[in-house]
């Protein structure tokens, strides 16, 4: 019974944690520009993140190591430096985009520009990490994330042609704007397979003191949580595909266009729901990424870490998340466009994935860590395939996107 409660809580947490500015913006763009055609990218990304999150939880439950900690231990400091620096950089950009997303939601609510909101939002995030415990952050805040289910309701209200939706789940070649099609596909993959998601999950397994008895729960949480999360992303894409093109929007180049997703379905309440969803989703993701930056550094260098400890018991750890949050907020204060930053950082995420995933696959096949719970060949093959695909697409399409537009 206790496990069942934990599984449901875990699933709710993953659903709440899945949707953030990256998945909302990339799915909306995919839908506006290419109809249902890019649903396959969300499906592929979701299947891949299910495998990876399950592995991360299994690894930590069996070995009592976090992934970041074990990469340093297994491959040595000189190798660890590369995934460390890449992930810190990508996470800072994604964190800035999330702070931007929450600030944009406040701009919708108040009319005052997001640039004014970046620092207050950063302060609120920092205060929760400073005063809160892991339980409050993991369960409380992500529980609120269930408000994003309104996208699923909206998708059903719009009565899409379900055969066309199913056809979109199969990959197909673009009929127009090939460069933008592949770039959007990469951004969607990057938004689904975020390093902070599985690194955070692995640290969470240690914070929640998981052992081998949690392997079943871990499988259920990874499978159900990520599938529900992916479903919400697909719903965003469906809504965008049905609502935006009739209003003449085939490309989202301004975040002010985003609330149209729900206002067209729910009217004024749609505006309220969209604003709330955007704020909660981005705020929750910011908490996780801010913490993840500190986990990564503290675990890599072997300092004391743990969100349940008081800041004075792990000064290095608290200093890292404080700096990380305010450094990322500064990017927004400077006036970087949150939407452009989101697209760029999601594609960059896809490009940086091999640096963390490849060592992780080695760890998942190393008996000294996972004993007899090693990966099967299906898991290994699925993850290698999607990561390689994401990497190749990113390397090809990021330059296309940057130079193609200017």
């Amino acid at each position: 019974m206790k496990k069942l409660v934990e599984i449901s809580l875990g699933v709710v947490t993953s659903v709440g944690g899945f949707l953030e500015i990256g998945s909302i913006a990339t799915a909306a763009q995919g839908g506006a520009a290419f109809g249902f055609q890019l649903i396959w990218a969300i499906v592929l990304g979701t299947v891949c993140i299910i495998f990876i999150v399950e592995m991360a939880g299994r690894f930590s439950a069996v070995s009592h190591h976090t992934i970041s900690d074990a990469i340093r231990e297994r491959f040595g400091f000189n190798f660890f430096l590369w995934p460390l620096l890449a992930t810190l950089l990508v996470n800072s950009l994604v964190l800035a985009a999330e702070i931007g997303g929450a600030s944009v939601a406040l701009e919708f609510a108040t009319g005052a520009s997001f640039r004014w909101w970046a620092l207050p939002v950063a302060f609120a995030i920092w205060l929760l990490l400073w005063k809160g415990t892991f339980g409050v952050i993991e369960k409380g805040v992500s529980m609120l994330g269930l408000v994003t289910l309104c996208f699923v309701v909206a998708a059903f209200e719009l009565r899409p042609d379900w055969t066309a939706v199913a056809a979109g789940a199969l990959p197909s070649l673009p009929q127009h704007d090939a460069g933008s099609y592949w770039f959007t596909a990469v951004s969607i993959l990057g938004a689904s397979i975020s390093p902070y998601l599985f690194l955070f999950y692995s640290a969470g397994a240690i914070e929640d003191k998981w052992d081998s008895s949690y392997l079943g729960a871990n499988r259920a949480i990874a499978g159900l949580g990520m599938s529900f999360g992916g479903t919400i992303s697909v719903a965003v894409l469906i809504v965008a595909a049905l609502v935006l093109p009739p209003q003449g929007i085939h490309q989202i180049d301004d975040y002010h266009q985003l609330p149209l997703l729900l206002t067209s379905v729910f009217g004024w309440w749609g505006f309220v729901l969209f604003t709330a969803s955007l704020f909660i989703a981005c705020f929750g993701a910011s908490l996780e990424i801010g913490l993840q930056q500190a986990y990564l550094v503290a675990q890599g260098f072997g300092w004391n870490w743990g969100e349940d400890l008081k800041p004075s018991d792990n000064p290095g750890f608290s200093a890292v998340y404080s700096l990380a949050i305010f450094a990322s907020a500064i990017l927004m204060v400077l006036g970087l466009d949150p939407l452009k930053l989101t697209n760029f950082s999601m594609a960059l995420t896809a490009a940086s994935l091999p640096l963390t995933i490849v060592p992780m696959l080695f760890l998942m096949n190393d008996e000294r860590y996972v004993k007899d719970r090693r990966n099967g060949w299906i898991g290994n093959a699925a993850v290698i395939f999607v990561i390689a695909l994401g990497f190749v697409l990113a390397v090809v399409s990021i330059p296309l996107e940057i130079f193609g537009q200017s």
């Binding site: 070995s63 009592h64 190591h65 900690d69 340093r72 231990e73 297994r74 040595g76 400091f77 000189n78 660890f80 430096l81 400073w130 005063k131 260098f301 072997g302 300092w303 004391n304 870490w305 008081k310 800041p311 004075s312 792990n314 000064p315 290095g316 608290s318 200093a319």
Partner: protein, 120 residues
């Protein structure tokens, strides 16, 4: 036991279960006619910098001396005799408060963290 595989880069935990750092370096002594013997574990940025290159080590050493005084000019040493167990972590029979390893964290705590409400 393999020193590089099973010891280097592992987490070190002190007598009070405080995580004090990773095994950033290992120092062994060569003896005439006898096998080499491990003397101590090194902790700290200077040991890490040396692994990246000798020039970086000199920079790290100079920086650490300027910030923390003479005793921070070299990496921190933990005598190999203090190692009690090598499992998920390496347990050592030392209290980190008796060493200079956490000087920078103590400084951070006393000068910044404690002065922010809710930090203590």
């Amino acid at each position: 036991m393999h020193l590089v595989r099973d010891v280097l880069d592992k987490q070190i935990v002190d007598r009070n279960k405080t995580k004090i750092g990773k095994v950033d370096g290992l120092v062994a002594e060569m003896r005439d006619g006898q096998p080499p013997r491990v003397l101590f574990i090194e902790i700290g940025s200077i040991a890490l910098a040396r692994r990246l290159g000798p020039r970086l080590q000199r920079w790290a050493s100079r920086l650490a001396e300027r910030l923390g005084g003479r005793k921070h000019r070299e990496a921190h040493h933990i005598p190999w005799q203090e190692v009690r167990d090598i499992g998920v972590d390496i347990d050592i029979d030392i209290d980190v408060r008796d060493t200079a390893i956490f000087d920078w964290q103590d400084w951070l705590r006393d000068h910044i963290i404690r002065r922010i409400p809710g930090g203590a």
